[in-house]
Symmetry: C3
Subunit: 320 residues, 3 copies
């Protein structure tokens, strides 16, 4: 993936069609990427347009290219056939562009299947057990949260409400809560990503009666992208309302959530190691698994639909 | 494996039956172990007794538990079916409890099959070649030791005698030998462990005529526990008679034997790497292999007996 | 591989025939190598000549031995059957022994198939892209070099000429070029190694009309030895004419070429990783691949001839 003239983003197969060097080791020359081994150049369609000391370029000299949309500070890559991308615009993500809001993100690499990261986000009862030092409080408050979820045309919506709860240390530091709070989160699960809109407000201020004015908000985007069947690229960002009196707030929240995800990574990689070693031992489901089990059924259904369409659209799903 | 109330030891399958996190990452809560991912709790029978925010616990919510006996400073785990453990008491090991004796031990991890560690202990002719800096002297003295061994109802006994030998540096430092010594070792090989009782006394003091009074003794226990077909947990301890004038003796002997086993580990892992890469090249046996070849035949026989009994008793043997 | 009496070189299978320890961990005792586990000794024919405390040595107690010729500062090992080595003398390499010439070399370990290292040396159009800091200049000069190659009775000869070119930084430092140069290289590809004789001289001094007097020469030997199908030992040396006014010249040239090969290693290992992950994606050939494609055909032919002879001669080819 590279930018032409510091502008358009191009996504090509990361493998020169001559001797296989990753093109990500190459250099951008004008509107082409030049391989760093023997100097072949490719344009943004993936066609080879230059072979040193050779006039004729065979038509087979090309690498795959992928449809790309850059929008709201995100680069969306369509991994399926280019035709399928026609008229398909990725969703907008307003929390990267909203006035008076700031955001920061990162890519994590996790040695576990993408499905285990999705499970993690769709069962937030783990927050009290795993994240006591940042966004979690006593486990019971999280487990007993009022939870609702349902399928939609595009995925799943899930909401959680914690009434009269202790504020977690991250929220105290970021928003100055002095007593108990009402706390909520609204999660949306879609094929390519998950968003969580988390909020909190002093208790007894009508938060659950429609008055969220003055609430503290932490919005997050989780683009969980399978690399192989057992490894995953995890792109994430957090967004928050700017506070003029707290210039370091973006960095603080980013660091807190980075710690939180490092805790998740440790748990999920241990889980993955254990399950890969013992594929024949049984597992059980519990009530809190409702949303993640629904997500698995949806992913299964989406993959079947993809196969029925006999196209390579959306092959990004295949490793989920 | 965990202790309830700092007392009883419990051994459970290291894999939560919900999402597979190792329970060894959990915390002990009362008489249960609580998983650190979603908070499921298990009692000492392996039954799940708590699922957060869920009243009904399915009967399938359980992990395997293993019969455990803690005795003489050792924890013995019966890996077979619980019924098979009935009336089966592990052997006593008096050198951990004898008055005026002290001991210290450790667990080593070796990237080699358990069988190669057993071979190592049952062919002590290697001591002169591998352990010249601690318990070994000139190789010839070790190779030429008078050796006897025979099968018993429960395994193998092997004795070795070295007459009129140079004392090794570990023995000189620990027992103050000033001249040559008579030196001996009595090894017992059993399904789950090996013991070696090594002794030495000044030469011409009747050691081999029944007078072992005043001898220096070093007793060792070697519990060689297969992890996989090519990796092994090696639990070991050394025991010795306390000397009031040498308060650091336990630590000294422990460090010497720890060095010795680090030397073995280097040899055995190099051997294992080489043999795994060249499974088709032939190997020969030599006379000194008598005890280890007998041990292999016994292990083969024990495994066949185990299969004939059609139970899962003693499955700890299966990776040997 | 070891020396008897600091003299004759012996090459044996690196695996004791008793319990498999690498003999390279052993010690040389007289004219034997003694295994460091149980003390078996082998003579230079690979026969076991000593088993501690055992008089009879079975005739099967032996390891493979290989015909070895030490010549010109190189040790040549014949990996095929000993009979095949009869009357086969390795080529001489005069640039290690020529008066007033000096040389220095090294062994590199590369996680890539040997074939990718051969490709690298037979397509020098990469020099401008990969080695700009040492022996390369602008890529175009290298790509556009006049190149000729042809098969011979024993392999391939290839010559390259760069007229009126910028001198690369290594040459400037070593030979003091102040303006443009004529530059050439003559490569010979044989089953077991490649040699490159590179030279340069001030432009317009008749270098390409037969007058190479006063030229700067850098001769190199590349013995590319497969370890496995995807790993390679790469032995190399550089040779140059001694200059009394530059006592550090050997070390300087060695360091420059060492840097150059570290650059190649990075490229070739990235290439190998990528190709091993995507064996089903197509590759194309370009004009500059002529010599390396010819080399592949020759290697294929040599391997077929080897099989037809139904001997194990020259099995060193099998991993190429």
């Amino acid at each position: 993936m590279f930018r032409i003239n510091s502008s358009n983003v191009v996504a090509l197969e990361d493998r020169c069609c001559h001797r296989g060097l990753p093109l990500s080791k190459g250099v951008v020359v004008g509107s082409t990427i030049q391989c760093s081994y023997h100097g072949l150049k490719y344009d943004c369609s993936g066609a080879c347009v230059h072979i040193p000391n050779q006039e004729k370029i065979p038509s087979s000299a090309r690498v795959k290219s992928f449809s790309v949309v850059e929008q709201d500070g995100l680069v969306w890559v369509w991994l399926g056939a280019a035709e399928g991308a026609q008229g398909q615009n990725p969703d907008r993500y307003k929390w990267h562009t909203e006035e008076k809001w700031a955001h920061k993100g990162k890519k994590n690499y996790t040695r576990a299947p993408a499905s285990m990261l999705i499970d993690n986000l769709l069962d937030l009862s783990h927050v009290g057990y795993v994240h006591g030092g940042t966004i979690g409080v006593d486990p019971k408050s999280h487990s007993a949260a009022e939870m609702n979820y349902e399928p939609t045309a595009w995925g799943i919506v899930m909401s959680r409400k914690m009434r009269d709860a202790q504020p977690p240390s991250t929220y105290v530091a970021a928003a100055g809560f002095q007593g108990k709070i009402d706390r909520w989160s609204d999660t949306e699960f879609r094929p390519a990503y998950i968003t969580i809109s988390a909020g909190a407000k002093d208790v007894n201020q009508g938060a659950f009666e429609g008055n969220q004015e003055g609430a503290f908000w932490l919005k997050s985007l989780h683009a969980i992208t399978p690399e192989t069947e057992s490894t995953t690229h995890y792109f994430w960002t957090i967004s928050h309302r700017v506070r003029d009196d707290m210039p370091g707030l973006t960095e603080f929240l980013f660091q807190e959530i980075d710690k939180t995800f490092a805790e998740d990574k440790e748990v999920i990689e241990a889980q993955s190691n254990n399950l890969l070693r013992t594929p024949d031992r049984p597992l059980i489901d519990v009530r809190a698994d409702g949303p993640s089990l629904l997500a698995r059924r949806l992913i299964k259904k989406w993959k079947e639909q993809e196969r029925e369409q006999s196209t390579s659209e959306g092959t990004s799903l295949s490793a989920l």
